[in-house]
Structure formats: structure tokens, C-alpha cells
Amino acid sequence: MRMNETWVNALVLLGLVAVPGWALMVDEPFTITLATRAAILALAAVGLNIVLGIGGLVSFGHALFFGLGGYAMGILAFHAQTYSALDLGFIQIEGSTSMPVIWLVAMGVSALVAAVIGILTLRTSGVYFIMITLAFAQMFYYFAISWAQYGGEDGLSIYVRNGFPGLNTLAPIQFFGICFVVLCLVLLLNARVQASPFGLALNAARQSATRVEAVGLDPIKLRLVAFVLSGAITGLAGALFADLNRFVSPSMFSWTLSGELIVLIIIGGVGRLMGPVIGACIFVGLEHFLGGLTDFWHIYLGAILLCIVLFGRGGVIGLLTGKEGAHV
């Protein structure tokens, strides 16, 4: 069976709306939360897919941006809820409980850190890049653990979910709606960027950096911009994730999360627009169902992953459409 990729994409998005819609009708709020979780993880992986799938850079530290987004939310909301100003030394700023403000800060901080780390790491390639991105994420992990003001190892609870103008974010379906719309907007952005001159050049740089240089473009600059864009998107996902759980902790920076984000993309299909979304839905589904059957569901996840790597590239989208995934 070979399906048109556009149809697969539409079906996936439809499914992602239908499940919580159904859950609303039969009053299963937990299922809505699961769908929200899938949408947010998908968003984080969409960010990663820009560098990994299009740019061919195996960033094994994307939890770094996820965590930064989470802590941006946690810190702003903490200061707003305790009516204390956030003292940056040279300037004092008020906290905020408004999602749009928090998102902007989360994306801004993530983009800034991505720019610095990108400048440091993009001069290297291959295995160095993998290890160094991992190490930088770990640096933030340990920093968060030792930063006692914001909960240190125990993390930071935010008792009330942040607000969005005109919506009641405490209603699960409305919060899901926010996350879903953000995901769709970012997918649209991703689709446009992927086809744009920038995306075409970035994709070509993955396949042959020499070719890109020979037409007068600088592959490192292309990758740096991709890394910044990618970091900002994953940071946004982190802010939403923190709002979903009303809790941030150093585990948002953890290397297993970086690994899982890559896994989502692989399950769905590398470099395919909806690969991360399918991957996230399957991952959250497995986590829920296998996790309900056995405490050791990671063994099965590992086995599935091994099979995908050893026997089938292209992920689920590849399976459905007959297209191979991007070679990274």
C-alpha cells in the first residue's frame, strides 16, 4: 500500500484532533492530556528535525533548549506568583504569567544560547558534534541541579497554569487547542522554510557541503541559522511542556530526553515534515499502553528502535509512502 504523503500528513493532524475531541465527549480528560503531551513533544522534535533532518546535524543535546524553555516559564511564573522581581544584576524585571510573553522569552533565550553553542560547535563535525552538543546539554543539567534558588534538584512547581488572553488554559481541551495551533503554525513555518532558498541550500549542504561552497554559499552560516531556529522552536515546546505539567525540573535537560527526541524523529521518518508528529503520537501511545502493561517498557522501545535502525530506514512515513528518509 502506497499513500500520498500529503494525505498521510492530513490524516495524522486529523487524528491528533479527533482523539482529544472524542475524549472530551466521553469525559476522559487524561486522554486529552496525553494528546497535549504528544503535540508538545512533536513540536520539540519538529525543532530538532530542522537541524537533524534537513541540516544533517545530529544534535544530541536538544533537551538543552527544551529545558531552557521550561525554566524560562518556571522562572517568570515563579517571580510573578511570588511578587518578587527577577534581579539580573543590571536590570530588574517583573515576572509574567502570560503565555505569549513567556513564549517570546523562551524562544529568545533558546535562540541566544543556540547561537553561542552553534558558533562553538559547528566548526566541528560528525562525532565531535554529537558529543559536544550532549556535553553542553549536560552542563545546563548540572547547573540546574545546583541552582538552589529555583528548586535545584527538586525542580520548581508552578501552582496555576499561565494564562492566554481570552482562553481558560486550565480547561484541558483549551490548553490542548493552544498547543495544537502552535504546532500547526510551526509545521507551516517548517514547510515553508524547507522549500525556501534557505531550506534548499541547507538541505544541499547536508548532502554535499562542497557543492554548496562551490556555488558561493557558506554551509556553516546556513547551519548556524538552522541551529538557532531549531533551538527557538524546541525552547517554545519546553515552555509549553512546563505549563502542561505546571512543573519544571532538571530532568527537562536530561540526555535521555535528547535521545528520545531523536527517537521520535526516527520512528516517524527523518527529514519528513510530519515525521516528528507521527513519532510523538506513537511514542506517547507506546509509553501509555506498554507502560501500563509492564514496568519495563523501555526494553520493548529499545528493541523496536534497534529493528528500525538495522532493518528499516524511513520510519512510518517511509513505510506508508514508500519514500526513504533523508540520509544523515
Binding site: L120, I130, M131, A135, Y142, I145, F296, I299, L305, V309
Partner: protein, 306 residues
């Protein structure tokens, strides 16, 4: 701050460094010879620790525990090399990362399944327990001193193995030219299995030795794995010498930073804040070190290939 404390901390840093070296040496060897990035190296460390704790618990002998650790890790290494890893040598780095990530999941959960979530404990052997008095009147735990000795000994042995033996020649040839070594009639797939098992055994040894001063539990391997990555990025991927220097640098930076940075900050801050900022900065110390080395030399101190 006393001289004794400083020396004590330097010894702690050395001890940490040589244990990191055991991990990093295997990783860098496997990358240098086979071009493989092995995330599951931390799992082999864990396998060694669990084997040692289980066997020492049953027999009461630490030595038997160590032998079990070496054997179990080498066996596990050889097994995964033959079943999974050898399909990955020509694969993209992404595939290597994913497959070895999958192996971590399988190893970790498998171990949890067999041994449960509670940590095991491995006692320091009686002959090595208690402090020893060093020249200058410094009391230092004998076991930690032994670890430094074992680490240095293994480092020397590894150097002799690679520089002076037939298999060392093959390993060095394999790093330079795979076709050549195959043409010379060396059984390359057996060589790879042996190198992988050797790296695994070193990781298992480190796990068992460190297991006696920390608890033995699932997930103990990954923090060490990531530190070992930092070590080989600093030292240069594929270089044993780089791994050695890098491991000592990382061990000393981490240990000394954690103790002395808060003290340093106390000179111009009040106590509580200094403690907080000092330890926060210290937790980032080795990564800052790595960043600095990368700016200076993008392929590490002794690295040739990117």
C-alpha cells in the same frame, strides 16, 4: 585552607581521573579503530559493577568480584559487537547513536528487571580498607590510593599492548588503513571483536572499582559515559594519550573546582551566596574547560581526525 586538604583533593581528582581514563580509553580505542561512537559503553560499566557486586556478595571475595566484572563486561561487549555493533561500522553516525541508545534502554531495563531498582552495595576488601598515612602525615583512604595505582598500571599496560605487541600493531594499522590490514591477512572482524571486548572489559573494571565507593545501581553508567565523552573531546578522539591527559584534566578540574571555587568566591561574596555560585560554576567547570579547548583546538589536544 591547609596544604593537607589541597593534597587530599588533588589525590581525589587523580583517582577520579584515572577511573575516567579506563572508560575513555575503551571509547576512544573503539572509535579510533572501528569509527564507532558507542553510547552503550556506560552500560558495560554498569554490567561490570553489577557482576562484581553480585559475585562478591555470593562468595565474599572482592577479587572474584573483579574477575567476574571483567569477564561479564568483556562477554557482554563481545556479544553486542557480534549481534548488533558490527552491522553499524559502515553506518551513519546517527544510526550508531540510535542503535547504541537502544542498547542502553535494553541494558538498563534488563538490569532493573533482574536486580530490581534498589542499589546494591559492594564492600571495599578488608585488606584495602581504612586510611593509610602518607609522607607528610596525610591520612588518605588506602582503597582510593589503590585505584590510582590500578588506573596508572592499566594505562601503562595499554600503552605496552599498543606499542609493543602484535595485536597492538594490528590495532594501529586498523586505525590507519582498514583495507591494508585486511590485505595483510588479519582477520579484521575478529580483531574488531577483540578490541571491542577489551574496551568493554576496561569499562567493566572501572564500574566494579568505582562500585565499591559508590552505590551500584541502574543508570550509574551514563553520567560517567558523558564525562568520558568530554574527556575524549578534550584529548582528541582516537588518541589514547589524549584520553589519559584529558581524563586527568577533567578529574582534577571537577574535584578541585567543587572544593575551591566556593572558597574562592567567599573572598568577595558572603558565605551562602558564595557557596551557591561557587558550586554552580564548579558544576559547569569541565564543560567550560571543554569549550575553551575547542576554541583553541577544534579536534582536541591530540586529535588528528575530525
Amino acid at each position: 585552607m591547609s596544604l593537607i586538604l589541597i593534597i587530599e583533593q588533588i589525590l581525589n581528582g587523580l583517582q577520579f581521573g584515572v577511573m575516567l581514563f579506563l572508560m575513555a580509553a575503551g571509547l576512544t580505542l573503539i572509535f579510533g579503530v572501528m569509527g564507532l561512537i558507542n553510547l552503550a559503553h556506560g552500560s558495560l560499566y554498569m554490567v561490570g559493577a553489577f557482576a562484581a557486586a553480585a559475585v562478591a556478595g555470593l562468595t565474599g571475595s572482592f577479587l572474584l568480584g573483579l574477575i567476574a566484572a571483567l569477564a561479564a563486561a568483556a562477554l557482554a561487549g563481545a556479544l553486542i559487537e557480534m549481534v548488533v555493533i558490527r552491522r553499524l561500522y559502515r553506518a551513519a553516525h546517527l544510526d550508531q547513536v540510535l542503535a547504541t541508545f537502544a542498547l542502553i534502554l535494553i541494558f538498563s531495563e534488563g538490569t532493573r528487571w533482574v536486580f530490581g531498582s534498589f542499589p546494591l552495595f559492594l564492600d571495599i576488601p578488608a585488606a584495602l580498607s581504612g586510611p593509610v598515612t602518607l609522607p607528610g602525615g596525610i591520612e588518605y583512604p588506602l582503597y582510593r590510593l589503590a585505584l590510582i595505582g590500578i588506573g596508572l598500571g592499566v594505562g601503562l599496560g595499554l600503552w605496552l599492548l599498543i606499542e609493543r605487541t602484535r595485536i597492538g600493531i594490528q590495532i594501529r594499522a586498523g586505525e590507519n588503513d582498514r583495507e591494508m590490514i585486511a590485505a595483510l591477512g588479519v582477520d579484521i572482524s575478529r580483531l574488531y571483536t577483540v578490541v571491542f571486548a577489551l574496551g568493554a572489559a576496561l569499562a567493566g573494571l572501572a564500574g566494579a572499582l568505582v562500585g565499591a565507593i559508590q552505590s551500584v545501581q541502574v543508570g550509574m553508567g551514563e553520567p560517567v559515559l558523558i564525562l568520558a565523552f568530554v574527556v575524549i573531546v578534550i584529548g582528541g578522539i582516537g588518541s589514547i594519550r589524549g584520553a589519559f591527559i584529558g581524563a586527568l584534566l577533567v578529574g582534577l578540574t571537577d574535584t578541585l573546582g567543587g572544593v575551591f571555587l566556593p572558597e574562592l568566591f567567599k573572598l568577595f561574596m558572603d558565605g551562602g551566596a558564595a557557596q551557591k555560585s561557587g558550586s554552580a560554576l564548579a558544576s559547569m567547570g569541565i564543560y567550560l574547560l571543554m569549550g575553551a579547548v575547542l576554541i583553541w583546538r577544534p579536534t582536541g589536544l591530540f586529535g588528528a581526525r575530525a
